[in-house]
């Protein structure tokens, strides 16, 4: 892998003495050049702290961060070839849109004509040509977001850091901006490091993502690796909807309370094991099936129907096929569990 950012053993401790909080705990990961990399996790998991370490706003207590082989220690933010799109956008309210975008170039003493050209190009890139003379307060949230993006990209940074950059937008705009961001990343060829708590954002945009939990990296992988093969209960639970099935491994099957589930061959006989199965991978049948259960609740969700079953299980059934039989509340049903849908978890309990 042609690494752009190498983070090794980074810890950040806030406060001191008894009140010390470990915001980051021995985090190590590598981000490739031109990659769209996402740090995903709930609030307080340390993802923003890690981003701020890369930007230079926080200083790691231990560990190092290297950018293209150069250690960033001791470099203040204004000497790092990275730029940030802030969560609140942090647009300068006293400057116009064009002045905001020109800010970084002026700091680097770029020639006036060159600045003008770049600002024009950036406005075009984020589809805001003609808005250069406005003040940020005169723009909508989505437009402000794009100005913040243009302001950061204008400096052609090696890495663009995005801190929950879409969370302030409404749903429709957010979905548009996802595509927009992805397009910009492809067009500019810049490494994007994106911080979010929104799993949909992470799955749809990232080349790879790191799921974080209380200051540590829980799992790193491509969206499909993370979604289809979560290694821990935490990751499986945080991303998407999941059924957890627990039981004892016997004869390459998992013996659970409601029946037998097929499992991969390499699990030790007689061990306790928990597996994750996505609700959309399960199939409901009237007779037979690997598991038997009873329908406790039916939730109509437009494109699909969610069946809640006894034993804390859920099954999603698409509504498109008229062929799908309808089941009634309280009906006893069977569940077919394909082997490919079964993901054994490392934390067995």
């Amino acid at each position: 892998m042609n690494s752009s950012i190498v983070i090794s053993n980074v810890s950040v401790i806030f406060g001191g003495g008894a009140n010390a909080v470990k915001a980051l705990d021995q985090v190590s990961l590598e981000i490739a050049q031109n990659e769209f990399f996402t740090l995903l996790g709930p609030s307080g998991c340390g993802k923003t702290t890690l981003l701020r370490c890369i930007a230079g706003f926080e200083i790691p207590s231990t560990g190092s961060i290297r950018l293209d082989g150069v250690a960033l220690e001791g470099l203040p933010p204004f000497k790092r070839p990275v730029n940030t799109v802030f969560q609140s956008y942090a647009l300068f309210p006293h400057l116009t849109v064009a002045q905001n975008i020109a800010f970084g170039l002026q700091e680097r003493r770029v020639a006036k004509a060159e600045i003008e050209r770049t600002v024009g190009r950036m406005l075009e890139l984020v589809k805001l040509s003609g808005y250069g003379a406005r003040k940020p307060a005169q723009l909508s949230g989505g437009q402000q977001q794009r100005v913040a993006l243009a302001r950061a990209l204008a400096n052609s940074p090696k890495v663009l850091l995005l801190d929950e950059s879409l969370s302030a937008l409404d749903l429709k705009l957010r979905q548009d901006m996802r595509l927009e961001l992805k397009r910009l990343q492809r067009d500019t060829g810049i490494t994007f490091v994106f911080v979010t708590h929104d799993q949909d954002e992470a799955l749809t945009m990232s080349d790879r993502l790191a799921v974080m939990r209380s200051g540590q990296v829980a799992q790193i992988g491509t969206p499909s690796q993370i979604y289809d093969h979560p290694r821990s209960k935490y990751v499986a639970d945080f991303i998407g909807d999941t059924n957890f099935l627990s039981g004892i491994v016997r004869d390459n099957r998992l013996e659970t309370q409601s029946g037998f589930v097929p499992i991969p061959a390499d699990l030790p006989q007689g061990s306790k094991q928990t597996v994750a199965v996505r609700p959309e991978r399960l199939r409901l049948v009237s007779d037979g099936g690997d598991l038997r259960s009873r329908i406790t609740q039916i939730v109509y969700m437009g494109n699909e129907t969610m069946y809640h079953l006894e034993g804390d299980m859920r099954v999603r059934v698409p509504n498109n096929a008229g062929a799908t039989p309808q089941y009634a509340l309280g009906a006893e049903v069977g569940l077919v569990v394909p082997l490919s849908a079964v993901q054994p978890l490392e934390d067995a309990s």
Partner: protein, 267 residues
């Protein structure tokens, strides 16, 4: 917000400036208070600790009378201006209406007009109307410039109150008057107290306006101190000045902590 661990936020030189800043603000005050306890009556040489000068001050009838006048003026001005300010703040709170800006401008007037101008205007006004200068004229002038100082904290406090609480009171069968008595007033009290204390300090400390509108026999403490300073520097002046200083500091501190408590309550 800002990470204090990061040297990024340390602007070079600020530390030195802040030390100089506080030294500059406080050294003269400490020197004054220290010298008021100095045995030596001549100069700044420290020759020993004594309370004598305070005894001298308290035995000086003129000073005691001036202090009494100061208290009479400050207490009456505080009482009247706080009532006026509370009423006005209640009238101004809540919705916007026509003419509000007229009152805003009026309240701002005593705050931005130089004291000497107010003093001259008041003096000329009383003289041309043939009103004899006395303690009464002093009190009237003090009420005027104390009102904005009392008004501002009360207004700020009202602004911070949730307008819904009155609706909640009404919902729970309180008439507007009862709601004011049981809900608004108790919540407003810290603001009123801190406004009253500011008015008290401002009145107690005022020199210029009092100097102009005080008639014979209406000398307040600052005016008397001014007279003493012009005659000569004595340890007695140090003592009486220190007393005035400490009184102001005590009231400010009290007002500050009351404000803190009020803020803690509302949040």
């Amino acid at each position: 917000m800002t990470s204090s661990q990061n040297p990024l936020w340390r602007f070079p030189g600020l530390q030195a400036i802040i030390w100089f800043f506080f030294a500059f603000l406080y050294v003269p005050i400490f020197v004054l208070v220290a010298l008021s306890f100095n045995k030596n009556d001549a100069a700044t040489l420290w020759t020993g600790f004594t309370f004598d000068w305070y005894r001298v001050v308290l035995e000086n009838d003129n000073i005691v009378r001036a202090a009494q006048n100061s208290l009479i003026v400050a207490l009456s001005a505080t009482a009247v201006s706080t009532v006026l300010a509370t009423a006005a703040a209640l009238g101004m709170a809540g919705r916007r209406f026509k003419g509000q800006n007229v009152f805003n401008a009026l309240v701002g007037l005593p705050l931005l007009v130089p004291e000497i101008v107010t003093a001259v205007a008041s003096l000329l006004f009383f003289l041309s109307l043939g009103i004899p200068l006395s303690l009464v004229t002093v009190i009237i002038a003090h009420i005027v410039f104390c009102t904005p100082f009392a008004y501002l904290p009360i207004r700020a406090r009202l602004e911070g109150l949730d307008p819904r609480i009155n609706e909640a009171a009404a919902d729970l069968y309180s008439s507007p008057l009862r709601a004011f008595w049981r809900v608004t007033l108790p919540l407003l009290l810290p603001g009123i107290l801190s406004g009253a204390m500011l008015a008290f300090i401002i009145s107690l400390d005022d020199f210029v306006i009092t100097f102009f509108v005080a008639g014979a026999g209406a000398t307040t403490l600052p005016v008397y101190i001014f007279g003493m300073i012009r005659i000569g520097i004595t340890p007695e002046v140090n003592a009486v000045s220190s007393l005035l200083l400490l009184l102001s500091i005590a009231v400010v501190t009290l007002s500050y902590f009351l404000g803190q408590r009020g803020a803690a309550h509302s949040s």
